[in-house]
């Protein structure tokens, strides 16, 4: 009886492992979900800022180091200068981060900032996260990029 119980526990455990592995594989294989917001102009989480991103040159080579321009305004549309911006991100379906450590290298005025050192080493769905700190407060925004 005990043996049977332990055997079925092992089996359930095994099935769970298989299911997790299958789910993980599915996650890795699927593309961007149809309803995923791929907008490059978004409000931050707490709606303190409106943030737009654009590659410095279009089209851009995702595999080479390149730059993006970030435009930050208040939710009412006034440009935000003097913001501190940090960059993070990665591939949620693969569980890894960005291959480089991009950083803001110039404030271009009128709420625009240059981010350099961006590279996306794989095709697929990437998250590009910005944390913004300026007079209205600290807030963050996540862009989804399907590359």
């Amino acid at each position: 009886m005990e043996q049977q119980k332990s055997a079925s526990l092992w089996m359930i455990g095994g099935l769970v492992v298989v299911a997790i592995a299958a789910f993980a594989t599915l996650l890795m294989m699927r593309g961007a979900p149809a309803d995923l917001d791929l907008s490059r102009d978004r409000l931050t989480t707490k709606q303190l800022y409106r943030v737009a991103i654009a590659p410095e040159t279009e089209p851009f080579d995702r595999a080479a180091l390149h730059g993006w321009v970030v435009t930050v305004s208040t939710s009412q549309g006034a440009p935000v200068d003097g913001a501190e911006i940090t960059v993070d991100g990665g591939m949620p379906q693969h569980g890894h981060g960005l291959p480089t450590a991009p950083a803001v290298t110039a404030a271009l005025g009128q709420g625009r900032y240059r981010i350099e050192g961006v590279r996306f080493n794989m095709g697929g769905l990437w998250e590009f996260k910005l944390r913004i700190r300026a007079a209205p407060g600290e807030d963050d925004v996540t862009f989804n990029l399907d590359l």
Binding site: M29, L98, G117
Partner: protein, 392 residues
């Protein structure tokens, strides 16, 4: 059922999805273009430097005992690698010799990327005690004695080495290290400049080593033009199945992407740690080394402006994902150059597929692999596809 439809789709080229066609085009050598410039090496595009570098590359006297040249491990008739699990110069190293085709495109050199340029890379084996085992002063003296004119035509006058020891360098034997430390700083900088220039000439030569077009490239070209691949550009049913797996369910193209079949990044794939070697942290241990390398892009021997050193400026530090992460190798030519992995741990392609299918736990850090099921037929198909990107 899926297998049958794949079989039926073979050869015509018309049965690839739009996404598959785009991925196939992205892997074609036609997408490669010219190598990126190396602003840290102003001689990178110099033909005279490349020719001088070729001479140096095949010169066994650039070693402690006159028997080891770059070509000892980077064999010209073997894709510039040596077919051994671990490279052998004066002694045996810890790592597999990498092939050289397309190295000019790699932002990072070595399996762990501990050099940020080809010229900085070339200097390391020259002084490694298990490879060429010489010293920078020894090499400067050799060039002065045997190749002075060629060197000076490219790089300008050699420094005065009168009265200096025969051999000295910071990575030499203890007496050579002591001799190096005893030199005045200005003299050391002069010798370092000659040493860096040797690397820059070697790099100029290595930039000319390129991948050659393969059957797959002819197939991809025809597909891109909307033509039916003809002659050897036509892939067999098995090869097409392998290609579909490669860019689909087997997830190979995730890392082996672009025309060189590499993402130029570092990944922990759970490759075993050889029992007879010290623990190898891979990329995680290389980050401090490349930052401290006096021959890096930001160093005083580099020809680049600091803002041209993007790879170093935006280097990821302190990332646990880099523990036992190693560089994704190009798969062009890989099918005919076993053994595989950074220390030649895996003997055959069959064993490589077995490794990726089972996705073992990494000895340290976290493997990125997820287990997949690959039938015998699918493994044969992947193998057949890899042969189509191997010019032999």
């Amino acid at each position: 059922m899926l297998g049958l439809s794949v079989l039926l789709a073979a050869c015509s080229g018309s049965d690839f999805s739009e996404a598959e066609r785009e991925t196939i085009a992205s892997l074609s050598i036609d997408r490669l273009g010219d190598p990126p410039p190396d602003p840290s090496n102003r001689f990178a595009g110099s033909r005279a430097a490349a020719a001088f570098g070729a001479t140096l590359f095949f010169e066994p006297r650039l070693s402690r005992d006159g028997t080891v040249s770059c070509s000892t491990c980077h064999k010209i008739d073997r894709q510039f690698q040596d077919d051994l699990p671990r490279g052998r110069g004066v002694g045996e190293t810890d790592r597999r010799t990498m092939p050289l085709a397309g190295v000019a495109w790699s932002p990072w050199q070595f399996w762990d990327g501990r050099a940020d340029s080809l010229w900085a890379q070339a200097l390391v084996p020259l002084e490694d005690q298990r490879e060429h085992a010489g010293t920078r002063l020894g090499y400067a003296r050799f060039v002065a004695e045997h190749m002075r004119d060629r060197y000076e035509r490219i790089f300008g006058p050699l420094p005065d080495m009168m009265g200096l020891p025969m051999s000295a360098g910071p990575r030499g034997a203890s007496d050579e290290q002591a001799a190096w430390a005893a030199l005045p700083e200005a003299k050391r900088a002069e010798i370092d400049t000659v040493f860096a220039n040797i690397g820059k000439a070697l790099a100029a030569f290595e930039r000319s080593i390129r991948h050659t077009e393969t059957r797959f490239d002819r197939f991809a070209r025809a597909l891109a033009k909307g033509e039916t691949p003809q002659g050897d550009a036509e892939l067999s049913n098995t090869e097409v199945l392998g290609l579909k797996l490669f860019i689909g369910r087997a997830n190979c193209v995730t890392c082996h992407n672009g025309p060189r079949f590499t993402d130029d990044h570092f990944h922990n794939t759970g490759v075993p740690q050889p029992a007879d070697l010290p623990s190898d942290e891979g990329r995680a241990a290389a980050i401090a080394k490349v930052g401290a390398d006096p021959f890096n892009c930001l160093g005083s021997f580099s020809d680049a402006e600091p803002d041209q050193c993007g790879e170093l400026r935006f280097l990821v530090k302190d990332n646990p994902e880099m523990i036992r992460a190693f560089k994704t190798p190009s798969l062009r030519g890989a099918s005919s150059r076993p053994p595989y992995m950074h220390s030649g741990q895996i003997a055959t392609l069959d064993d490589v597929f077995g490794h990726y299918a089972s996705a073992p736990t990494s000895p340290r850090g976290q493997s990125e692999l997820q287990p997949i099921t690959l039938s015998e037929r699918e493994r044969e198909a992947l193998k057949a596809f890899l042969k189509t990107i191997d010019g032999g």
